[in-house]
């Protein structure tokens, strides 16, 4: 039976009314959040706010909201105008792509392709686009083995494949930055978050984390850090349309009217039986940091720098992650950077200017990241071509029984 539009029209009308009401509510919350950002100590003392921030950390986690820490010597609502246009600099960005293991395939393998771009601006403009495919096919390459106990192995699943890819992207970034002529300031860009939440829980053994994080990603960061001794290296990760709530949750802590929440805990005070009604929702519910900063920042401006408190970051050493928000003109983007970048005002200024230049050149998204993606992407066509070459090579080596019956049935479609 067809849809009865006559019957659904009143429902649509109700939906529109409810949406309209929610928009009004949301705006009220946003205004309240902004007021809280301008005056974070309206309800609490600085010391209490500090206690509440600490209370949001494990293992106690009395405050259930994960939040950023307070900026270092900056106001929460600090705004930095766009610095002067930067004319002479280099940018390197890398990205990655993959061919995932095919369970139906003749051979078990996966392929990671890291790609990127280097561009130099100024009197000697030049560019280089690069990509490196890495095929993992040996049984020992498909697992991560505990160096202290070779019986302990972890299969590289889809999640770890993404982590391995991130390591390769960061390594490719460090390698290419290392080749740039000395003197020139460098913007080194990745995309996505630097905070690898995946290692936070108990999903993977410590040896997996050590291999991919401490001896992988963070080692690549170490190389960039070492280069920053002799040149300006503004290393950051650019997050488009960020969904994080770290600053908004900080406002919850500042807004909460319940004295002693940092000792008693949200779970007690605002549980069904407690006196609280989750008043912090009034400055936070349904809001992201990007919503908040879209109210605060004009085009080209950036926010203060907030240290993240994500527990995994405690392993990052000098690379503890800080973040700020930038109004690029097209969106509020989040920039994540290691502490050694965040603590250098001149490097942050350069990064701010260079990011704006990149977004302008890339029509709203950093040009270097766009091109890095293009350099790295493995298209469906690429995958098919790769599969064809693989199949014919295996046949040439007398291993041509081929794919599973199911996979073949998909490839040769007939009636």
């Amino acid at each position: 039976m067809a849809l009865d539009l006559g019957k659904s029209a009143p429902q649509i009308e109700k939906m529109a009314e409810s949406l309209k009401a929610r928009v009004g509510e949301r705006q009220r919350r946003l205004d309240a959040a902004l007021r809280q950002l301008h005056d974070p100590l309206g309800n609490v003392t600085f010391e209490v706010l500090q206690k509440r921030i600490r209370a949001s950390l494990p293992p106690r986690r009395k405050i259930t909201w994960a939040m950023a820490s307070l900026p270092d010597g900056e106001a929460l609502d600090a705004v930095y105008r766009a610095p002067a246009h930067v004319k002479e600099y280099a940018v390197v960005a890398t990205d990655g792509s993959q061919i995932e293991p095919d369970r139906h395939g003749e051979a078990r393998y996966f392929l990671l392709n890291s790609g990127g771009i280097y561009v130099r601006y100024g009197p000697k403009p030049e560019a280089e686009i690069f990509s490196t495919p890495s095929l993992f096919a040996k049984p020992e390459e498909m697992v991560i083995t505990d160096p202290e106990d070779s019986f302990k192995q972890q299969q590289i699943d889809e999640t770890l494949l993404g982590e391995l890819r991130m390591v390769m992207e960061a390594e490719a970034l460090a390698v290419r930055v290392g080749k740039i002529a000395p003197g020139l300031p460098v913007l080194a860009l990745l995309d996505g978050t630097l905070i690898r939440f995946v290692y936070s829980g108990s999903r993977y053994d410590d040896f997996v984390r050590k291999k991919l994080l401490e001896h992988g990603l963070l080692q690549a960061f170490d190389r960039l850090y070492a280069m920053s001794e002799s040149r300006r290296v503004a290393f950051a990760s650019y997050i488009s349309k960020p969904g994080s709530h770290e600053v908004v949750n900080l406002l919850r802590a500042a807004h909460c009217p319940h004295a002693g929440v940092e000792e008693a805990g949200c779970a007690v005070l605002c549980a069904k039986t407690g006196p609280g009604k989750m008043e912090c929702d009034d400055v936070a519910k349904g809001l992201t940091d990007a919503d908040l900063f879209s109210e605060l920042l004009d085009v080209g401006e950036r926010s203060a720098l907030f240290p993240t408190q994500a527990p995994i970051v405690h392993l990052y050493g000098p690379h503890a992650v800080w973040s700020c928000y930038v109004n690029t003109g097209d969106e509020i983007a989040r920039l994540e950077m290691p502490a050694w970048v965040a603590r250098d005002v001149k490097t942050v200024d350069f990064m701010h200017a260079a990011i704006l230049d990149q977004c302008k050149k890339g029509r709203g998204y950093p040009l270097a990241l766009q091109e890095a993606h293009e350099a790295a992407v493995v298209t469906i066509g690429d995958k098919q071509n790769f599969q064809r070459v693989l199949d014919s090579t295996l046949v040439a080596h007398g291993m041509g029984r081929g794919t599973s019956a199911k996979a073949r049935s998909k490839r040769v479609r007939a009636v």
Partner: protein, 194 residues
């Protein structure tokens, strides 16, 4: 002897070949005589079309210079363009040289993919364009800008020939070949003078 390489053959058939230029935006002029060597054979082609565009067919080039003063500034502000754009040209095969003998005929095989393309040297051009049979190959080709390429080719050939009457003789040859199509003949003759 040939002059510096222009690029590499990336597509080839018996009757034509396409060359990806090593330098962006610098294809040889329309009508240029090009050679591609493959062992003992040198294939000759006449440039009839050139294109510059995005390397990736799914991505088009966009206008970038609204706030800039010149095209040079666009390239300065976007150095990556040199890596994202490509220039190709296509040449119609008009003959080949087998050992030392020049033939105004189609070669036994297409140009080799990745074969280096050069502009024919003065001596090669003199030897190849001395006779006029290559005109017939061009006139009968089914290709874009065929007549304009032919006119430009004859003009360039005349510059390498010692015979001062070369253009006149070429015009007479064309008149014979296009006896049934005076309109086309006149168009070509007009373009030859330009």
């Amino acid at each position: 002897m040939t002059t510096g390489k222009l690029g590499e053959v990336v597509e080839a058939s018996t009757a034509s070949f396409t060359v990806h230029c090593h330098k962006l935006g610098e294809p040889p002029p329309l009508g240029s005589l090009i050679t591609v060597a493959d062992g003992d054979i040198h294939i000759y082609g006449v440039v009839h079309n050139a294109t510059t565009g995005s390397i990736d067919p799914s991505r088009k080039a966009l206008a970038l210079g609204e706030e800039l003063a010149s095209a040079d500034e666009v390239y300065k502000e976007h150095p990556e363009l040199t890596k994202l754009l490509r220039t190709d040209f296509t040449a119609l095969v008009v003959g080949f040289k087998d050992k030392e003998e020049v033939r105004h005929n189609l070669p036994p095989r297409p140009a080799k993919i990745h074969g280096f393309a050069h502009i024919a040297s003065k001596k090669e051009s003199q030897d190849f364009t001395k006779g006029f049979h290559f005109l017939e190959v061009l006139l009968n080709a089914d290709a874009q800008n065929r007549d304009a390429a032919l006119a430009a080719c004859v003009r360039q050939a005349a510059e390498t020939q010692t015979d001062k009457e070369y253009l006149v003789r070429a015009g007479k040859e064309l008149a014979k070949l296009l006896a049934q199509d005076s309109r086309r003949l006149n168009t070509i003759l007009r373009m030859m003078k330009a």
